[in-house]
Assembly symmetry: C2
Homo-oligomer: 217 residues x 2
Amino acid sequence: MQRSLKTPRTTLKRTHERGAYEREEVYGVLDAGLFCHVGYVDDGQPLVTPTAYWRLGDELVIHGSSASRMVRVLAAGAAACVTVTHVDGLVMARSAFHHSVNFRSVMVLGKARPVENPDEKITKLKGLIERITPGRWALLRPHTEQEIKATAVLVFAIDEASAKIRTGPPIDDEEDYGLPIWAGVVPLAQRPGTPTPCPRLDRDMAVPDHIVALTID
Amino acid sequence: MQRSLKTPRTTLKRTHERGAYEREEVYGVLDAGLFCHVGYVDDGQPLVTPTAYWRLGDELVIHGSSASRMVRVLAAGAAACVTVTHVDGLVMARSAFHHSVNFRSVMVLGKARPVENPDEKITKLKGLIERITPGRWALLRPHTEQEIKATAVLVFAIDEASAKIRTGPPIDDEEDYGLPIWAGVVPLAQRPGTPTPCPRLDRDMAVPDHIVALTID
């Protein structure tokens, strides 16, 4: 298994100091997120679909209704791009031009493998629940055969990818630093709020630890 | 100007009760966000690039370095899909199958028009700064001709689009509601934190109102 995920197609041509191609760096960005945007082409039209993802070893996994357009196109072997983006801050500079964004993003290129084996499907789907809420899978109403059949699981081998990362304060033109203009970073983060119980839940049921402990990033 | 943005290509085939096609609905989702994912094809490979966007009237605007791959491909007239996604909550159900996500997303299909006129470019770029921090544009070091030249501005007419929205509690199988399994929604939101001043900023400079007031959504 090669460590570097760099290929001509994933090599940053501009701002190359922001690029990273080692598995550890790419996986660090992937493991901080829950949602990706999947790009593919249907009938000549590029489409970008938001969906949940999770990483299991050297594979990135997504799922969907077997009847969905995205699943149909990807399962047929279409080329795809899976992009994960964390926006970490708005970078406010002294000139409009040097305004920027602190972010971490990853692009994974490849074709999906549809998981056909029901046991492998179940193992993969368990991975999603356990990635978000460790311990929850065992507490749920057991899945049915029909539910597994209706759910498509698609796997991307992570072989060709790049990460792109910007951090830090604004970089202004040297002669602009003395100007009386506020500059800095406004941090942004996606945070979980207070859980809202289902209206049909027994009112005395406590919020379980795996929900209380839920964090992102 | 037609009110509905529904076309055969933007019509939801499944979960159609979650689809919305009126301009007001689509604009509501667009105006709550700052970042989109742009899908396009370069040399047969779909690519998805995260970038800032803003809406001006019936147009969605993005910008980038004139030297970037995305700008080069889009300016040449490639078909594109711009997707905006807000993740509002993780929906925890009593079965793995009925777990879901509360979200608002919009897909805009079309081809970009590169803005060539420098005055139109400046007006559009001002729109980005003013959308995030009203009043800031006038306080910045004035832009230079070279900066405007180096910045590409691309405009999508919003003519073909759809919004997709899920809200509310988990929808479980009727016979599962009585099970002793915690179910509900964990809300998620992207929130700005405390601004970090640039290390080279005069320590006595107060954080201006347009930064303090910055909100998303």
